[in-house]
């Protein structure tokens, strides 16, 4: 099981123009300028690849911070 810190790093990897230092567990990710539906799809694909968890679009929609999403993934494992 990956730690919250590892998840935050994987989450930040999905961005191209946003510096990883801008993304922490408490970041409200949908407020980031670069956030898009494509990045949402990338987060879902990353959760599948790294955690073997099938996130729904609604899970991403309902989460506010990066940590919220990590908890959803933990709940599905």
């Amino acid at each position: 099981m990956k730690t919250l810190e590892e998840f935050v790093a994987l989450f930040a990897e999905q961005f191209d123009d946003t510096d990883a230092s801008e993304i922490t567990a408490a970041t409200e990710f949908k407020d980031l300028d670069e956030w898009s539906s494509l990045i949402a799809l990338s987060i879902i694909a990353m959760a599948d690849e790294e955690f073997d968890v099938a996130l729904k679009g609604a899970d991403v929609r309902d989460a506010s911070t990066v940590e919220d999403l990590y908890k959803v993934i933990c709940g599905k494992m």
């Binding site: 539906s37 799809l41 599948d48 679009g57 609604a58």
Partner: protein, 248 residues
């Protein structure tokens, strides 16, 4: 009986992926227009549900997994002469390009492109499609007129189908078999509701369609049935867009 060039009376039509969505709607409409329908898919329970909704008594179920040669050959051996073939079975896995891997790519290409090609090839080789028959592929506007992000494998597979269709439509003229495809836009089917896209996103998507709504499977089936019928007797190698104006 009054003249009806859209009738499928006396024809036998094979529909793949007939347990849900566009395939199911096509099978039902073919039967209503008088065809005997052979439906195939992997799931026997759902096929039984489809067959229970078909008109007439000459319909048949073939449970087959078309993701491999064994299932394709089994299906070819279980059908007799056909007047129509609807290559509909398909999957859609949404993955941004950096997450595409060989396994997922091969799976999508196999089910959406290679299996329909091999099924068509086998049926032609065994002369299972009569003169005057018609083949219809269910492709997509995806990869043709409009793409959505995360859809690269699906677009590649549907583009493959179009290239194949255009070539064999020319080859099959000599056998008096027509070959066409429909290109649906966004249709309300189970393939669309796997969860990666939220209901809000679907609503937003519908707002971009000139007709302001998703298509129904029955509206795609109507185009397929037209291309199967004698009303389309001079149409071969064509791509019929059915998308509520989304490509415009």
């Amino acid at each position: 009986m009054s003249y009806n060039p859209f009738s499928l009376e006396g024809k036998t039509v094979l529909v793949t992926g007939a347990s849900s969505g566009i395939g199911k709607a096509t099978a039902i409409l073919c039967s209503k227009l008088g065809a005997s329908v052979i439906i195939t898919a992997r799931n026997e329970e759902r096929l039984k549900d489809t067959v229970s909704q078909l008109e007439g008594n000459n319909n048949k179920i073939v449970v087959a997994d078309l993701s491999g040669t064994e299932g394709i050959n089994q299906l070819i051996n279980e059908v007799n002469e056909l007047d129509g073939l609807v290559n509909n079975a398909g999957i859609n896995k949404i993955l941004p390009i950096q997450f595409v891997d060989e396994h997922e790519l091969m799976n999508t290409m196999q089910i959406n492109a290679l299996s329909p090609i091999l099924l068509t090839q086998g049926l032609i080789k065994k002369k299972r499609i009569r003169k005057g028959g018609a083949i219809v592929f269910v492709s997509s506007i995806a990869g043709h007129t409009r793409s959505s992000v995360g859809n690269s494998m699906y677009c590649a597979s549907k583009g493959t189908i179009t290239g194949f269709m255009k070539c064999i439509s020319k080859e099959l003229v000599i056998k008096k078999i027509r070959c066409n495809e429909v290109l649906p836009g966004q249709v309300d089917t189970p393939i669309m509701s796997q969860g990666a896209v939220t209901e809000e996103q679907m609503t937003a998507l519908a707002a971009h369609i000139p007709m302001k709504r998703l298509g129904n499977p029955e509206e795609i089936a109507a185009g397929i049935v037209f291309l199967l019928s004698d009303a389309a007797s001079y149409i071969t190698g064509s791509s019929l867009i059915i998308d509520g104006g989304l490509s415009l």
